[in-house]
């Protein structure tokens, strides 16, 4: 059952990921990205990371992507038009290169990753309390550094957007 759900949502994630790249319209790409994030959230949920799953949806799908979509709509960006005219030779070469690249990647992953059993779903429970405790004890420094980073980005955006006095 878990394997089936995993396959379904992993499939959706990969499909949406491909669709994100292939789509010519920015809104369609953005919606595909939301699909990727939603299916990732389901995968987190299967691993037992409830809080991470919900944070994924609230932060990425609910806040960041809404801003993306908002900006795309505001600029009223039209469909992308390709100016690049590829010859058929380049296209066939691309397919061969892509296959070689994928083979190489899968070989490296096979060779370098340790031979352990795969992740078993639902073994560990990442409750909200656990995440919070880890965040404020073991990972306090990265957490605070990240918030400073976001603050810097915020100040930078305001400085850039501000009109000259």
């Amino acid at each position: 059952m878990t394997a089936l759900i995993f396959l379904i949502f992993a499939g959706i994630a990969v499909f949406c990921g491909i669709s994100l790249v292939v789509q010519t319209h920015p809104i369609a790409s953005a919606l595909s990205l939301i699909g990727v994030m939603g299916s990732l959230a389901v995968l987190y949920l299967q691993l037992g990371g409830e809080f991470i799953a919900m944070a994924q949806i609230i932060v990425y799908a609910g806040a960041i992507m809404v801003l993306f979509v908002f900006v795309i709509m505001l600029l009223n960006a039209g469909a992308e038009t390709s100016t690049f005219q590829a010859s058929s030779f380049v296209k066939y070469l691309g397919i061969v290169l892509l296959a070689a690249f994928l083979g190489l990647i899968s070989f490296i992953i096979q060779a370098t990753l340790p031979k352990t059993e795969g992740v078993v779903f639902g073994v560990f429970q990442g409750t909200t309390a656990d995440v919070g405790r880890k965040l404020f004890t073991s990972y306090l420094l990265p957490f605070e550094v990240t918030s400073v980073l976001i603050l810097i980005a915020l100040v930078g955006a305001i400085v850039l957007a501000r009109k000259e006095i």
Binding site: I27, V66, L67, M73
Partner: protein, 396 residues
């Protein structure tokens, strides 16, 4: 297997009741606003317009679904579906009552309990904006687009105070599950003041209610569909069932936010009085309602009142009798009391929503944004800080 059957029954029950409520909520809204403005409201279809929702549904289904030219068809048709599907999803984690035992069956009056139920509702409501934004954009109409953009900006802005207001009672109860939240609010201070989060978190409650007006696009924050500026905003180009889907989504969102407010701040199904007294309240209310209707039926002001009001009285007295009977059947009593107090609180909050719509004018757009960022957000933040300080000092 047993679990599956019980779940299916519960899902069917909840879906049926919810959809009927949504249809009748619109009737209630029209009636209440009409009476506030000294009109009678829907009156033609059925006694006191009671069959009006049915007529509306038939009308909307049989209407032609127009698709304007030059719209992006996929997104145009997807938007209302997204809006209504997301709006109806949240009800899955809302508990309506405590654990009940009917013979061998032992179940909760809730579809499913997540340990992170509250986060789930926030997550679903945060992606609910896509329905409105997509609908506005895909309609290929500048008014719709403006409505969609306004709605995105407004919902992102008001999500912050909403989430902060929700966080404060979570700190008090130290849980993210709706069930435990309600259990935490059981009992009474000094024997008669209910231990609801409303009293320690009154600021949080007010912030939550104000922000939820904006989240559901209701007056005074209904900028996305401001009639005098944007025709009808994001759903200008929609007709037939697509339009009805947006409408349904709005009412479903209203039910969800009022249910969440009830669960977080008003103690869910916990009655406001200790048990022996609170059990009598519904009997008194329904019996009084029945007697008033009976009196007016016997002294009819209008011709048809002679028939409609005694019938209403009969229904009310029947409900009162059922509540009275339930005093002797503990199983029935547990279900009915929980439903009565939970639905009662939700209805009171829904009435406030409608009342505000009938009373207040609309905000201007810059006022809306300033209100969120300069007043509501700092207030919610302050409330959260004070609450966490108190929690940190009182717990070891």
């Amino acid at each position: 297997m047993n679990f599956l059957i019980i779940s299916l029954i519960k899902v069917a029950l909840v879906a049926f009741v919810l959809l009927t409520t949504l249809a009748y909520l619109q009737w209630i809204e029209r009636k209440v606003i009409a009476h506030v403005q000294l009109r009678v409201g829907p009156y033609r279809v059925g006694p006191h317009g009671l069959l009006q929702p049915l007529a509306d549904v038939v009308k909307l289904i049989t209407k032609e679904g127009l698709i304007p030219s030059h719209v992006n068809k996929l997104f145009y048709l997807m938007a209302p579906f997204v809006a209504v599907a997301l709006a109806l999803t949240s009800i899955a984690v809302i508990p309506f009552g405590p654990e009940i035992k009917i013979g061998p069956i032992d179940t909760w009056m809730q579809l499913t309990d997540l340990r992170i139920g509250i986060l789930f509702v926030i997550a679903i409501s945060s992606i609910g904006v896509y329905g409105v934004a997509l609908g506005g954009w895909a309609s290929n109409n500048k008014y719709s687009l403006l409505g969609g953009l306004r709605s995105s900006a407004q919902m992102i802005s008001y999500e912050l105070p909403l989430a902060l207001a929700v966080a404060a009672p979570l700190l008090l109860a130290n849980t993210l599950s709706f069930r435990e939240m309600v259990n935490y609010q059981g009992g009474y201070w000094l024997g008669f003041i209910p231990r609801w989060n409303l009293f320690p978190e009154i600021i949080g409650f007010i912030v939550f209610i104000i922000a939820s007006f904006a989240e559901t696009n209701r007056v005074p924050f209904d900028l996305p569909e401001a009639e005098n500026e944007l025709v009808a905003g994001f759903h200008t180009e929609y007709s037939s069932m697509n339009f009805a889907a947006f409408f349904m989504a709005e009412y479903a969102n209203m039910v969800t936010v009022t249910a969440v407010a009830t669960l977080l701040f008003l103690g869910g199904w916990q009655p406001p009085f200790p048990a022996p007294y609170s059990d009598v309240v519904p009997i008194i209310i329904f019996a009084l309602g029945g007697l008033v209707a009976l009196y007016h039926g016997l002294n009819p002001a209008r011709r048809m009142d002679r028939f409609t009001l005694p019938a209403t009285a009969l229904v009310f007295l029947g409900i009162a009798a059922i509540f009275g009977l339930s005093l002797f059947v503990p199983v029935l009593n547990a279900i009915l009391m929980a439903l009565f107090w939970f639905c009662g609180k939700i209805l009171v909050l829904l009435f406030v929503f409608i009342w505000v719509r009938a009373t207040l004018p609309r905000f201007r757009y810059d006022q809306l944004m300033r209100f969120a960022w300069i007043f509501l957000f700092p207030l919610a933040m302050l409330n959260l800080l004070v609450t966490s300080l108190i929690v940190a000092l009182t717990t070891k």
